[in-house]
């Protein structure tokens, strides 16, 4: 029986049945390429002051620069090409988002599996703490932590992890609990396999579908959360200009009609988040064993 083996070609085929989802997946891949290789083809390094010209400041989209380059999305108040700034900003936003999700995932897996595997006091203690964290809106947890710790990349990642780990721990615990009742788990135990093999070789791989879906949803959420916090001025410092900071920078110019400095970075953020959300929504449908595809 080779039925259960994962086949990437088949998966892409089934995935592509939803054309909208396929479009956004391609979009997502495009964004990732743009972000990873971005510095190779941007007009300038937007944070190298020697490459900026103050005469180019506040130019609307599609205007020409002092040196006859085109600024497709206009420039900001320091004469910075907005497109380059957006690509550099997305790098930081995605980096913070992915890092925080990976760390929360690791914490969630450890706590969730420990909870499900050992049960008893350990389980109820971990879950009470998780319940307490979940009772608070994650935005508020992050806001409070950052108001105490101050701005900074590590602080933002820490705040995002603190507001997300509980969701992971809860989901992983509940799926590990249901897997624990299944026959393969008992047979693995009866074979007297070492515990790490039972956990890493048998339990975790079977908990993967919900973990994957949750990670993608939370990635979109973490990116939005970081952008909101940076916009409010409690997130990343000015030395790490993420998308949220770029939008916040353009905020004061909206009233005077210079809309592009906030509009375009926000659009890029929106497209990134939508692509991740639709991707995860499609994954959720495909990986749900209760639905037959």
């Amino acid at each position: 029986m080779k039925k259960n083996e994962f086949n990437i070609v088949d998966f892409v085929k089934i995935y592509s049945e939803d054309k909208l989802a396929l479009f956004f997946l391609i979009n997502l891949i495009f964004i990732l390429i743009l972000v990873i290789f971005g510095p190779l083809f941007t007009l300038q390094n937007p944070y190298d002051l020697s490459q900026l010209n103050i005469l180019d400041s506040l130019l609307p989209p599609l205007s020409q620069s002092y040196e006859n380059n085109y600024f497709f999305l206009g420039t900001d108040d320091q004469g910075r090409d907005l497109l380059s700034a957006i690509i550099y900003g997305l790098r930081i936003s995605l980096y913070v988002g992915i890092l925080s999700v990976v760390i929360s995932l690791i914490i969630g897996i450890i706590l969730g599996v420990v909870s499900a595997y050992f049960g008893g006091i350990v389980d109820s203690f971990i879950m009470r703490v998780a319940d307490m964290v979940l009772a608070m809106p994650s935005f508020l947890i992050a806001l409070v932590l950052l108001s105490i710790l101050g701005r900074g990349l590590e602080n933002v990642v820490f705040a995002l992890v603190m507001s997300q780990w509980a969701t992971f721990a809860r989901v992983i615990r509940s799926s590990a609990l249901s897997e624990k009742e299944k026959d393969y788990f008992y047979s693995a135990k009866c074979l007297c396999l070492p515990q790490y093999r039972i956990v890493f070789g048998h339990l975790l791989p079977n908990c993967l579908p919900p973990i994957i879906v949750l990670s993608t949803i939370n990635l979109a959420f973490a990116i939005t959360l970081e952008a909101s916090l940076s916009f409010l001025g409690v997130g990343l410092p000015i030395t790490e200009p993420s998308i949220g900071l770029i939008i916040s920078n353009g905020y004061e110019y909206i009233i005077v009609g210079k809309y592009w400095m906030s509009l375009y970075p926000g659009l890029f953020l929106l497209i990134t988040v939508i692509s991740i959300n639709i991707f995860s929504d499609r994954l959720r449908i495909l990986l749900n064993p209760r639905l037959n595809i």
């Binding site: 935005f139 806001l143 105490i148 939005t224 939008i247 909206i254 809309y259 906030s262 939508i274 929504d281």
Partner: protein, 333 residues
């Protein structure tokens, strides 16, 4: 003869349990927040004029109680908290709790109108999509809900200002407008000018819960339609309208009420963003100002007030849940 109404008794036990639990959580939260806020950051540098004389400095520190140890400060804080006093704002030189309560009605007005928008628009749209999931309108509604999910609140706020306040000047972009006093609190939803001011912020805040309500209603209807009691209602010859508006919606209302209740807390938190963008004078704007000014008593008081509101909301949701669904006996929990 002693008759005990077991149902009421179990309800009472449940309530006391929950209230004790909430109280313990509140205590733990206050300790955590207090310790964290007070351990880091030195308000003396912020609050006292650097050119003040040494004598003045010591006097101010003493007045604010900053010379005592952390535990002493927490002890005094707890003692006062039981009396309903949550410390004095360093910046405004007024009790922190009165500062917050003064701004609470504005925040509640904003969050409640956002929730109402989400419910009034979301449930019909979700129902339309759930009844005929395959037609074009339903697909657009669902696509729209994913779109709303992904919209960053703060950016939508800017775009709303850009379109409706700057380009077309339909709605004002800042403040609350004219307010009407009710029981000593000021509300702006009773005047036309106030409603105009309320429109943009509440739409901004409503997008996320709107998407959630649409999805929940959709999923609920999808799960309920094949159930026996709907088939039975249909077999009885009830009209389609009555089946949908009475039997179906009553059944799916249970998860929706729960989630909306929990969303209320989330909206109070997210109101921080909306309030800062639209200069809405609620407690969210106060906390951002306090964070930048390092006004610790206000930060602590804000958190305790919001945690208290969350606990209250969760309790109300639990009670509503048991009232709506007679199958759930509270004592079983």
């Amino acid at each position: 003869m002693l008759f005990i109404n077991y149902k009421n008794l179990s309800m009472l036990i449940f309530l006391t349990n929950r209230i004790i639990q909430s109280f313990i959580v509140l205590l733990i939260m206050s300790l955590l927040v207090f310790a964290a806020v007070y351990a880091i950051g030195n308000p003396i540098d912020v609050l006292i004029n650097p050119e003040a004389s040494e004598e003045e400095k010591i006097k101010t520190i003493k007045n604010l109680g900053l010379d005592k140890s952390l535990f002493e400060q927490y002890y005094i804080f707890l003692q006062n908290a039981f009396k309903g006093e949550l410390g004095y704002s360093f910046v405004h030189n007024r009790p922190a709790i009165s500062l917050i309560l003064e701004r609470l009605p504005a925040t509640l007005e904003l969050t409640i109108s956002a929730l109402l928008i989400a419910i009034i628009i979301g449930i019909p749209l979700g129902t339309i999509a759930g009844l005929n999931p395959d037609n074009f309108i339903s697909k657009s509604i669902l696509a729209m809900s994913i779109f709303f999910f992904s919209l960053p609140t703060f950016w939508v706020g800017l775009i709303l200002i850009m379109i409706f306040a700057v380009s077309y000047n339909f709605f004002p972009s800042t403040g609350r407008g004219d307010t009407v006093e009710i029981f000593g609190f000021y509300f702006s939803f009773l005047t036309f000018d106030g409603l105009k001011h309320l429109a943009l912020p509440s739409i901004n805040l409503a997008l996320y819960p709107l998407a959630l309500v649409i999805r929940l209603t959709f999923a609920g209807i999808q799960e309920t339609l094949p159930l026996d009691f709907i088939k039975f209602a249909r077999a009885k010859g009830l009209s389609r309208f009555r089946i949908i508006s009475y039997h179906l919606l009553k059944y799916i209302l249970i998860p929706i009420v729960t989630v909306i209740g929990l969303q209320f807390s989330v909206l109070i938190a997210f109101a921080v963003i909306t309030e800062s963008i639209f200069a809405w004078p609620g407690m969210g704007r106060l906390i951002i100002e306090s964070i930048t000014l390092l006004d610790r008593p206000v930060i602590v008081a804000y958190l305790l007030v919001t945690v208290f509101i969350f606990m209250l909301v969760n309790l109300i949701v639990d009670i509503l849940y048991s009232l709506l669904d007679p199958r759930i006996r509270i004592s079983d929990k």
